[in-house]
């Protein structure tokens, strides 16, 4: 049987393995060295690779993001550690105006092989500036790839692929999943980008879910299966590139789809995936595609409010039941 390790450990292993393999990889961010990040994900790396390669930075997100872009253009392969996904706003210029466009603007002559690892996820009582899930923002920008691991297994395999990719890649880890364990092989493996994972096969409804929403979908699927509804769960794993084919194949089979993502619903990830399904599996759909994103509100601090802002298993099961029973969700 494969050993089980935490998502945190999986990320750590992926980075350590790649850094052993390729001396041009460096990692930089706040409190990444001795402290190993506040989430302790990187503990031990500085002991092995030293402070020349595991680099503590001042609290200068735009600055060290820019430095990473320049380092990537000239021969290093930097991993940028952005402590909270909410700080993405601070690095957007360097990420989207510089990193994402350099290869194209140079006519293919300059490369920017860098990884921006950051996190997402609410319900940690961290309030509006430490709880956002901003994957939609970067997914919109051509030139960036975007990975959203849903377990320790994906976290390791996607991180290794990201590090070897010659493009800027943004990886969102769910900060509530760092201690979640999953089977992770001892042997090396990589997970190719643009290949969705059929997490569970099913007949009646397709649940397309990203990151921790895969767990939510699984819990819903368990409930549904007890009621005789068979849900198929698709984890895109990367939203750019998006494995449209696997999603469409599933929906053509089940004729029903629910798309679940923890970013805000409006103008978010669920919109893109739902729109593609509605367009390209139009004649196979028995019911409208249902979108379940986070509520369009800043994340509230109060525990009484925060939990209801994100999709949960009961809500997914409920929606699945409704479309499977042919109930009109909206007076459409």
């Amino acid at each position: 049987m494969t050993r089980e390790i935490t998502l945190s450990r999986a990320v750590n292993e992926a980075i350590a393995e790649e850094m052993r393999r390729d001396p041009s990889i460096i990692l930089l961010g706040e409190d990444v060295a001795e402290a190993g990040t506040p989430f302790k994900v990187l503990s031990g790396l500085v002991e092995e690779f030293g402070t020349d390669r595991i680099i503590d930075t001042p609290i200068s997100e735009p600055g060290f993001m820019g430095i990473a872009v320049g380092a990537a253009m000239t021969g290093l392969r930097p991993i940028v550690d952005l402590m909270f996904g909410d700080f993405l706003y601070l690095v957007m210029d360097q990420l989207c105006n510089q990193a994402a466009k350099t290869h194209y603007m140079s006519g293919g002559k300059l490369n920017v092989p860098l990884v921006l690892r950051t996190n997402m996820g609410a319900t940690r009582r961290s309030a509006a500036q430490h709880s956002q899930s901003l994957q939609a923002l970067v997914a919109h920008i051509p030139g960036l790839k975007v990975a959203m691991p849903s377990s320790a297994y994906e976290a390791k395999g996607l991180m290794k692929t990201a590090i070897r990719d010659n493009n800027p890649v943004v990886i969102f880890e769910d900060k509530l999943m760092y201690n979640d364990k999953a089977p992770v092989p001892e042997e090396e493996y990589l997970i190719p980008f643009g290949q969705a994972h059929i997490k569970r096969e099913g007949r009646d409804v397709t649940l397309v879910a990203t990151s921790s929403m895969v767990q939510v979908a699984e819990a819903a699927a368990d409930t549904l299966s007890r009621e005789g509804i068979s849900a198929e769960i698709i984890d895109p794993r990367t939203i750019v590139p998006l494995d449209e084919e696997t999603i469409l194949r599933s929906v053509r089979k089940t004729s029903r789809a629910i798309v679940i993502d923890e970013g805000h619903q409006s103008y978010g990830v669920t919109a893109e995936i739902a729109a593609r399904i509605s367009e390209k599996a139009f004649y196979h759909l028995d019911a409208p595609v249902i979108r379940m994103g986070a509520m369009d509100v800043p994340v509230p601090f109060s525990p009484a409010l925060e939990d209801i802002t994100v999709p949960n298993a009961a809500g997914v099961a409920d929606n699945a039941r409704k479309i499977c029973r042919g109930e009109l969700i909206h007076a459409a």
Binding site: D31, A35, T57, P62
Partner: protein, 331 residues
């Protein structure tokens, strides 16, 4: 003002400063306890040890003057005039909190007393404070704005941008850097090249370094600078040497790997702003030891009562979740 009146006046001021520092300490001790006993959601950053900074500065301000605060913001909030009850309610996510529980520790604001809010983005309030000063100048209100931030925040480019504009436009803003020697788990020397005061001076901003554990020194300087701001002589920069007693946040318990126990003991025993100011008050015969203990006890009781109240208070109704996303606009 007659000498007697002046003495009376000063005594009141001293008492307020002492009281406010003790109130901050009491608030934090209770907040820490709430966290350790798992009664507080999330986590929070303790201000204990830095009381003389917030109190020395805020006591030099009027309620209409503005401040912006940080992730380590309880001290600023108390010092600017907030009440325990609404603060604890906010920390516990209750409806009666200053922000109806929606903000929590890192976003607590008390608009009525001129506290424009804590901020969970390091350096995030530097623009806000400068903008508040622009309002004061444009509307001629005579209000001063103090922008509190940590040594770590000086690494944010935003500061240099707004210092430049504040200097060009002569805005009534005081940038107050609480240099507690650390940003998270990193020593200031490791992340700050050169000199902080020189950075502000390079923009033509008059800068000062002051002992942040000495409430009287802080208060005196802040008073002078606030007055000069009101005369249009701002902006100013203030670097205040201080120390945080707890970890970076309440959960940062084992910190030997980045900070020596001895160093902590040294600051706590030799440089505690409350102990030292208390001693001074007694030395100067302004207060007796017993009087101070009475104050301490009263504040402790207040804090305890507020905690109890907040624990029992109710959460906001779930229907509040999508209220306050947008402000109403008169038609």
């Amino acid at each position: 003002m007659s000498a007697a009146k002046k003495k009376k006046h000063n005594t009141e001021e001293y008492l307020r400063m002492y009281t406010q520092m003790v109130r901050i300490r009491a608030f934090e001790d209770n907040a820490n306890q709430l966290y350790l006993s798992a009664k507080m959601p999330g986590l929070t950053h303790m201000y204990s040890g830095q009381e003389a900074v917030a109190v020395g500065i805020c006591e030099a301000l009027t309620p209409e003057d503005k401040i912006t605060s940080t992730h380590r913001g309880h001290g600023h909030c108390v010092a600017k005039g907030a009440h325990f009850k609404e603060m604890f309610c906010e920390l516990l996510g209750k409806e009666e909190g200053y922000c109806r529980g929606k903000g929590g520790s890192m976003h607590i604001a008390d608009q009525a007393n001129g506290n424009l809010g804590a901020n969970a983005i390091v350096g995030g309030s530097m623009g806000i404070a400068t903008g508040s000063a622009l309002t004061a100048k444009r509307l001629g209100t005579g209000h001063v704005t103090v922008c509190f931030f940590g040594d770590g925040a000086t690494a944010q480019g935003l500061w240099y941008e707004v210092m430049n504009m504040a200097a060009l436009w002569k805005l009534p803003v005081i940038y107050a850097c609480e240099n507690n020697g650390y940003s998270e788990y990193t020593r200031t020397e490791e992340i700050a090249a050169g000199s902080l005061t020189a950075r502000a001076e390079a923009f033509g901003i008059e800068s000062f370094k002051v002992d942040g554990q000495d409430v009287l020194a802080v208060n005196k300087l802040a008073g002078e600078l606030a007055a000069r701001c009101r005369k249009g002589e701002g902006p100013f920069f203030l670097e205040l040497d201080t120390y945080r007693y707890h970890g970076h946040h309440v959960g940062d318990i084992n910190r030997d790997y980045y900070r020596a126990k001895d160093e902590e003991t040294e600051w706590k025993s030799a440089r505690d702003p409350i102990t030292n100011f208390g001693k001074w008050l007694i030395d100067q015969k302004i207060m007796t030891a017993d009087e101070l203990v009475a104050i301490d006890n009263e504040i402790a009781a207040d804090a305890e009562a507020a905690v109890k109240y907040a624990l029992d208070a109710k959460y906001p109704d779930v229907r509040e979740v999508d209220m306050h996303v947008y402000a109403d606009t008169a038609a």
